[in-house]
């Protein structure tokens, strides 16, 4: 993975730049000590690390604006950071950049049940957003696996999803407004508590722009009344093809579960050994969750059981209690941990048309054998968002490279069958160089033209998303 050579002029001006930042920020908000900076050298894509020039932790929109004005004047690159849980390297710094962390901006600014909105500072963690409203029977729907740690700022940057987006959508569908600070230090209000944009949908393009258009400091979120209850059913199958066909039939039948999760045999076995959820030993299993009052849940699950029954399931296990629900979800929720126990792994995030599922799983099996690296599949089957986990040994020379090449082949396959490189993690540095597989030069140029408008000098998180060669002229490289 290649990063641009750091700008020697900026490295040489480090003391002056840090001094200027200290003029507008409190002493404890500017970090330039090399040891302390190590905390900011990577995100959850920990294979790649680089210490930044400095890190700043402002406490207000005004401080963010003041700091960005200085960085813009100095020509310093800025890497925005939420909680640093990106799996794509979205918050990985370069040596000549300032990391701008919004974690200290975590207040709830407004909750309005009548209007079903909530305004928070963007450093607030995803789970604590729901935590602030759950006693009133409300919740914030997007629920990425990292929700305990990840910040709303990062969710907005990556347009994060989660297990329940089949029904509730991803971040962009639950975001109504932001306070955006541009690289020039200008503070903009985009959207608000109303439901639609007056002109161009700037909010729509800001969400998912990976911190390249501005720094989001506040967000107005749509909140929902929590359903009366939820219950999963676990269904085991003799083959992935049959599981895929069952998913298609359920969707065709007009039931819209909140989640349809899929695991294949390698994943089932690993989680069984790790967390002992008591899963059946089969080729593929689905966990399908439905919501509502008890009678509504019964009605939906009865329909799902009828449909699944036509696909010769190995087992249908319907939860009848909180404890049984917990056990059904236990394996799925510990899948990544279970894999981490066995091996190092790389988690992919491509999306495919649901109809291509059997074909893609078969081809992944062939590629896995060809590369000699095991691949376990766990994913959101309802929307086709796959998370193949490639197992490898980070300490064995050449294995990371081999793993990345296999990953690139699998993601290319996702695009070839009509899907995309990333469904919810983002491009970051990880998939940057594969963008040409999905997009033509004109498609990429159109996206880069948007950045030209928001950040003409290309100082915000510049070496991400677009292949370095494609963005070189704009970055002045």
């Amino acid at each position: 993975m290649q990063m641009p050579a750091p700008d020697a002029r900026i490295l040489g001006r480090k003391p002056a730049i840090v001094a200027r930042l200290r003029e507008v920020l409190p002493a404890d908000a500017v970090i330039d000590d090399p040891v302390e900076l190590r905390a900011y050298e990577c995100d959850a894509l920990s294979a790649y690390r680089c210490s930044p020039l400095a890190a700043i932790l402002p406490r207000s929109t005004a401080e963010v604006a003041a700091a960005l004005k200085i960085c813009a004047a100095e020509g310093v690159k800025v890497v925005p950071r939420g909680s640093g849980t990106s799996l794509a390297g979205g918050a990985m710094p370069s040596q000549d950049s300032v990391v701008l962390g919004v974690a200290r901006m975590n207040r709830v600014l407004e909750v309005d049940h009548a209007d079903r909105i909530m305004k928070v500072e963007a450093g607030r963690t995803n789970l604590s957003v729901t935590g602030a409203i759950e006693q009133d029977g409300f919740f914030y729907a997007p629920d990425p696996s990292s929700q305990l740690a990840c910040a709303i700022a990062g969710n907005i940057a990556m347009n994060s999803g989660g297990a329940h987006c089949l029904k509730y959508g991803v971040t962009t569908n639950n975001l109504l407004g932001v306070t955006l600070v541009t690289m020039a230090g200008e503070v903009l209000q985009i959207g608000g508590a109303h439901l639609d944009a007056p002109g161009l949908d700037l909010l729509g393009v800001i969400c998912g722009s990976e911190g390249q258009l501005g720094v989001v400091t506040e967000a107005t979120l749509r909140i929902l009344a929590r359903p009366e209850g939820a219950r999963p059913v676990l269904i085991g199958f003799e083959s992935s093809e049959v599981a895929g066909a069952c998913v298609a039939d359920i969707i065709r039948a007009g039931v819209l579960p909140v989640a349809i999760e899929f695991m294949d045999r390698p994943c089932i076995r690993a989680t069984e050994a790790f967390a002992h959820p008591g899963y059946p030993d089969c080729e593929a299993l689905l966990i399908i969750e439905v919501e509502g009052a008890p009678a509504e849940i019964d009605e939906q699950l009865a329909l799902i059981r009828t449909i699944a029954g036509r696909h010769s399931p190995v087992e249908i296990r319907e939860s009848r209690s909180e404890e049984e629900s917990r056990r059904i979800w236990l394996g799925r929720k510990s899948a990544f941990g279970a894999m981490g126990q066995i091996n190092d792994y790389m988690c992919l995030d491509g999306t495919i048309p649901v109809s291509a599922l059997p074909q893609v799983l078969r081809r992944i099996g062939e590629l896995s054998a060809q590369y000699g690296l095991e691949v376990a599949n766990v994913f959101h089957a309802g929307d086709g968002n796959m998370h193949p986990l490639i197992l490898y040994n980070a300490n064995a020379p050449g294995q990371l490279d081999l793993c990345e090449r296999l990953g690139a082949e699998i993601l290319t396959l996702c695009v070839e069958v009509g899907g995309c490189l990333t469904g919810e993690h983002g491009v970051g540095i990880e998939k940057r160089d594969l963008m040409g597989v999905q997009f033509g030069a004109a498609d990429l140029d159109a996206q880069m033209r948007v950045k030209d408008v928001f950040d003409p000098a290309w100082l915000l998180n510049p070496a991400k998303v677009f292949p370095l060669a494609a963005s070189a002229a704009r970055r002045g490289a």
Binding site: L195, G204, G292, E296, P353, G418, Q438, A446, V450, V465
Partner: protein, 362 residues
């Protein structure tokens, strides 16, 4: 001009020397002058996978044709796009591209999202004559910037849509509409907020003059029955609701809301105002005339004296107002933007349409 391929369209745009007026069915009142550029030659369903809830369709395809194809498979567009023809006195057939260009979203927007939320892919030719693809045909996609949303509601100001992709929704087997008669706008919004803030998954909440306050439930039959019962109890403080269980009768009511039917054929300008729902009653009070409220009070259709500025009395209320019918040289139809936002908008238009040939959206 009526291109039948993307290449032909791109050629026309590259060769254009003056403004072009992009025209689908001509039913949505998009503004501007120039040589007509019709999308009616770019039609047809490209891909429809009912089991994946996915549709890809060329932009000039009539909305009615899209809806019929989906209905044949028991599916629909989730966002319930309206038909503005009768309101605006136009006879054309609305196209799916026009729906996207105006982000047309009806009553179900409160639960299922807007057009922009169901839109998962676009192909368009920008003002430079370049074909651009963004998004795709899968529901979850964060690969690169989301130009799909930027194009939704862009009123033809960035490019000509040639192909659009949607995620779909199965048509639920049952529905019911609760009708609360005689509420003031303030009480109506309170009732709608109570319903929308309940766990009963309300898919429409509107206030229709002369009819009442409408709350819609959809889903499996037993579930709808259960939720009707619970909402009757929860909404008891607002009066005794009548339950409309006849699907056709209920659909007709929701079409009236969706298309602002009470204002069809009546004198005066029509404004569409978007605010936070709890400000809805204040908007209604300040405008003084007749209003239809949708989205739980967050969307207000107002009949207002011809040529008058409905924005002036609404000063201080956050949100925006667009005049959808009528005209006045002195009052712009589209809401003015704060200077910093307007600069970004202008910058984007300059990037995608540097020669300013797409006058229709401005």
């Amino acid at each position: 001009m009526r291109p039948t391929t993307e290449d032909e369209l791109a050629g026309i745009i590259r060769a254009a020397t003056g403004p072009l007026r992009i025209t689908g069915g001509g039913t949505r009142g998009l503004l501007g002058e120039g040589e007509p550029l019709e999308t009616g030659g770019l039609t047809g369903i490209v891909l429809y996978e009912p089991a994946a809830l996915t549709l890809v369709v060329r932009a000039g395809t009539p909305l009615a044709e899209v809806e019929a194809a989906l209905a044949a498979e028991g599916q629909r567009l989730p966002f319930e796009p309206g038909d503005m023809g009768a309101l605006l006195g136009r006879n054309g057939a609305s196209t799916i591209g026009g729906v996207v260009a105006t982000n047309a979203s009806g009553p179900r927007r409160v639960q299922a999202g807007a057009c922009r939320d169901a839109l998962i892919g676009v192909r368009f030719v920008d003002g430079r004559g370049t074909l651009i693809r963004n998004g795709g045909r899968v529901m979850k996609n964060v690969t690169g910037y989301d130009l799909v949303k930027l194009l939704a509601g862009s009123r033809g100001s960035l490019g000509v849509l040639t192909e659009v992709a949607f995620k779909l929704q199965p048509i639920p087997p049952a529905s019911a509409t609760l009708i609360l008669p005689g509420l003031s706008p303030a009480r109506a919004v309170a009732a709608m907020s109570a319903a929308l803030g309940s766990p009963y998954d309300v898919t429409g909440a509107a206030h229709l003059p002369g009819i009442g306050t409408l709350i819609r439930l959809e889903g499996l039959a037993a579930s709808v029955g259960y939720r009707v019962g619970r909402l009757l109890v929860a909404l008891a403080p607002y009066g005794q609701a009548v339950v409309e269980r006849d699907a056709d009768a209920a659909a007709a009511l929701w079409r009236q809301v969706r298309d602002a039917a009470p204002f069809h054929g009546r004198a005066g300008d029509v404004w569409r105002i978007s605010v936070r729902p709890s400000d809805g009653p204040e908007v209604a009070a300040r405008l003084g005339g007749e209003v239809v409220m949708d989205w739980g009070g967050g969307l207000i259709w107002a009949l207002y004296p011809a040529g008058m500025d409905a924005r002036a009395p609404l000063a201080g209320i956050a949100g925006h107002a667009t005049r959808v019918r009528g005209g006045s040289r002195d009052v712009p139809a589209l809401p003015p933007e704060p200077a910093a936002v307007a600069a970004l908008t202008a910058g984007l238009r300059a990037q995608f349409d540097p020669r300013a040939i797409f006058a229709s959206g401005r």
